[in-house]
């Protein structure tokens, strides 16, 4: 393996999120697979990403895009075999790309053998592996997550004539983590993959592991204890691994998942994400500043994971009602774009295909504190299809070229797991990897350059952040520092040219060097530093004292 021995690798990573099904189909069955993904590792290495986060590829009835798992230690036949996965994993490691896989702890598919056994009778040994109740009145007041489809967190099982608890879809019964057997079974699952060599787990829906009466059944101390136990075991036997929490909570609630550095290594900063979109639309940095000022410090070895879009809807749970209404009115005017308190659109359509805005958002993503996650396809500005139901609109096949099925698969188009985007603006003929590779100033090449620049300076991944407070609220400016390295980032959030005076007296005498062109800017003096920026323009300056 070419991987570095680095137990903090996740801090410096640029993560690329994809579903194997969407990426590349090697056997013309219309569905992406691991051999196909292995073939495309070169592209990913070229892009400059250092880790892949794979969405669930386990056997599953696929009623929730694979998050309803029917077998934890296998690979869905459509995507290949376990051996195919191993091949892929080794190939990725050879290219210095680590692999993070999903671990859905909270629930299984109702097709999982465990549940089949559990529901078969009340006396079954695995009965207690799930949460059963005679009534559906327990745990009152716990909110429903998939509000558009579910009416209750309890579902009636006609076989064993009891209710079972499910925080998500009704076909995803929750495992009972009060049962040590369940905890042990899941540890065995994790061990299976860790032994194979995966570098980390994204633990899905982790706040919901444990239920207690009179609570929201989220973020309970028992949940933390379970995770800490897993972490301890991983640390003992498997060095350089990483646990990533999916906890859609306020920062003050999420930090509990870091523990004292003995729980999760990373957690998503959910509330920041919609505020980045809001700030660009409002042309006002306030939403970003507000949320980051409220974000408490985390243990030294931990890291926030930040992102623009992902496979789910752009969640608007962690915003106020006023903010939600604003986001809907500005980014999801068509009701078909809305689902479950969120917006099911990709980055490029939300930015109205405005190249400058797309660049600005990516610039923010890659310069703010945290490990960035790039959602597959966003590096070429892929579009979405809001009419595909659920959140499938943002999970369409990767667009490789302008040819058959966008180069994704040789199968009949009708056989594809999902239609390829084909409209004149975002369709595969207009937006694809091959054309962008050939075009020097394409978004793809720009992204490569951006990632490359970021990777050169550890200050972005590990440095501190200090926000400047210029009186022009349309400019978001901050200073990142790590040791002797100082980087000044200035972002124009507005659609018009701006002038801004920055108070950089502390850095008096430094020379700003613009990091992409490497040109020198005037030395910082006593007076406020005047900069002018074009619409949505941003600068990364290295401040050197010479």
């Amino acid at each position: 393996m070419a991987l570095r021995n680095d137990n903090l690798w996740y801090k410096d990573a640029v993560i690329y999120q994809l579903h194997v099904r969407t990426f590349y189909d090697s056997n013309a069955d219309g569905i992406g697979d691991f051999p196909g993904l292995t073939q495309r590792l070169g592209y990913l290495q070229e892009l400059g990403v250092s880790a892949l986060w794979l969405m669930p590829f386990y056997p599953s009835p696929l009623k929730d895009d694979g998050y309803d798992i029917a077998d934890y230690t296998s690979v869905h036949p459509s995507y290949g075999t376990v051996q195919d996965f191993k091949t892929f994993l080794n190939a990725a490691h050879d290219r210095n790309i680590r692999v993070i896989v999903e671990m859905v702890l909270n629930h299984t598919s109702d097709q999982h053998p465990w549940f089949q056994e559990s529901r078969s009778s009340r006396d079954n040994p695995k009965r207690d592996w799930y949460v059963w109740s005679d009534t559906d009145t327990k745990y009152q007041g716990v909110p429903i997550i998939f509000v558009d489809t579910e009416m209750s967190n309890w579902a009636w099982d006609p076989i064993s004539k009891q209710y079972y608890w499910h925080r998500f879809f009704s076909h995803q019964p929750d495992l009972n983590y009060d049962n040590p057997a369940v905890r042990e079974a899941m540890w065995q699952v994790m061990k299976f993959w860790l032994d194979m060599g995966v570098d980390g787990f994204r633990l899905d829906a982790v706040p919901n592991l444990v239920e207690r009466e009179g609570t929201r059944c989220e973020n309970l101390p028992e949940t933390h204890a379970i995770i800490k136990d897993y972490r301890r075991r991983i640390d003992l036997a498997y060095p350089n691994k990483m646990l990533l929490a999916e906890a859609n909570q306020w920062p003050t609630d999420v930090i509990s998942y870091f523990g004292l550095g003995d729980e999760f290594h990373m957690a998503f900063h959910f509330p920041l994400m919609p505020r980045m979109f809001m700030a660009v639309k409002l042309e006002d940095r306030k939403p970003i500043i507000d949320i980051l000022e409220q974000t408490p410090p985390i243990p030294e070895i931990c890291q926030w994971c930040i992102f623009l879009r992902n496979h789910d809807e752009l969640t608007l749970e962690m915003v106020t009602e006023i903010e939600r209404d604003y986001m809907y009115d500005t980014y999801a005017t068509d009701k078909a774009m809305r689902i479950n308190l969120g917006i099911r659109r990709r980055l490029a359509p939300m930015m109205e295909n405005d190249r400058r805005r797309i660049e600005l958002m990516n610039g923010l993503l890659l310069s703010m504190p945290g490990t960035p996650v790039i959602y597959y396809g966003d590096e070429i500005g892929m579009g979405d299809n809001i009419y595909l139901g659920d959140r499938n609109g943002v999970r369409t096949p990767m667009q490789w070229n302008g040819g058959w099925n966008g180069g994704f698969s040789a199968a009949d188009p009708e056989r594809l797991y999902s239609p390829v985007i084909s409209n004149p603006v975002y369709g595969y003929q207009a937006v694809n990897v091959e054309s962008q590779r050939r075009s020097e100033h394409s978004l793809l090449n720009w992204m490569r350059s951006l990632i490359q620049t970021r990777n050169l300076f550890q200050v972005f991944s590990r440095g501190s952040i200090e926000f400047l407070d210029p009186s022009n609220h349309r400019v978001l400016a901050y200073v990142r520092q790590l040791g002797g390295a100082t980087v000044l980032v200035v972002n124009n959030l507005s659609s018009s040219a701006q002038a801004v005076e920055l108070n950089l007296q502390r850095y008096k005498g430094h020379i700003p060097i613009e990091m992409f062109g490497r040109n020198l800017f005037p030395r910082i003096g006593e007076l406020p530093y005047l900069l002018t920026l074009g619409p949505y323009q941003f600068y990364w300056f290295r401040l050197r004292r010479i």
Partner: protein, 437 residues
Amino acid sequence: MFLAFSSRAGEQAGNLAEDILLGDDFIRQLMSVGEVDLLIGIPSYNSAITIAQTVRAIEESVHQNFVRDRIVIVNVDGGSTDNTTEVFLESDRRKAFDRRGLTSLRTIHRVSWQYGKTPSLGMAVRTIVAAADLLRARSCAVVSSTTIDLTASWVTNLLRPVHKEKFEYVSPLYARNRYEGLLSRNLLYPMVRAIFGLRMREVYSGEWAFSGRLAAHYLDQDVWAEEPVRARPEGWLAITAMCSGYACCQSFLGQKGAPTVGGVDTVEAIRQTVGNLFWCMERYQEHWLDRVGSQPVPTFGPEHEILNNGAPSNPEKIFELFRTGVAELEPVLASILTQETHRQLNGIASEDAEKFRFGCELLVRALYEFAASYHHAVINRDHIVQALVPLYRGRLYSYLLQHAHSSVEEMQADSELLCLEFERQKPYLIEKWNAKS
């Protein structure tokens, strides 16, 4: 005072900005703000005690009703010595996070500037208008920094007609105590109504809202250096809107009491308001000379309300001042009033205090003669206005006596009669106005 402006797309803009009216520091602050949808101006002078509450009311209104709009609150200060501007900039800055830990959607800017070393409302308003022009504000309001009754709903009620409906000038309406605002009720409102033909009650009060187009129109006028406008710009602003065909309306704000800080005394109030009114009559004579009757103005919320509380202190003193005034100012009044009117005035001045009545007919005739004398400048114009004070006191005393036990309805009916008398005698005013001096 609330003035709502919005600025045009800048073609004729720059009249004020080019006068180097706005200092560099102010321009720099405005630069940072950028284009806004709403600009709210607060003129101030030594209002540190009350300005924090004003700002709070504005921000609360914004959070509730104009949450997506780009807002700036501009404080223009006339050389305060009690840290008014510091209080304005810093009050409630510590973020009051709500349950989710968040505040408003957008940055609400606060900008402050000292326009001079002595307070001048005209200069303050002009600065606000210029700022609105530079920032291309769609609507603007000017609020008094000393109105302690100002609440968030006041701000909302004032701004909504101009910002969300299609009106271009919004005048406030209040619920007043029965013995307050009597200059407005007995002189200013009836006279404005009769002369300019619009039933706008509070032309000389503390709060207004303007539309954008109107602001640009104001900026084009070359009157800001005139003393009546420097002292009391709001009257000229309202009358200009009325005479220039802009859609005017009134909006009920709430109950208004007396200001705790810096209330104006009667003499000064009359000098400024009546002086301004006469000056406006002079300036806009072609608009009102052939206008007959009056039209109601669209109103949001209840009409002007009179509350049944409060009692005046020392009304006898007021009568004494009237009587002495008429006697001592004999030569001055003789050069302003006609012989007949003067004789009648002397007549009522010799009546007993208990039976005193200053009838509508005589009052209106006298006021119109004052207006005509002002027009012909029979003596110094400011002196003419000052000579009006005893007459106002006489009317005030008569009104207090007459309505000591009246119901609110009776008071309102009497006010309406006075208004009709003003309208009825307008031809007399026109006759005196046009007479050769």
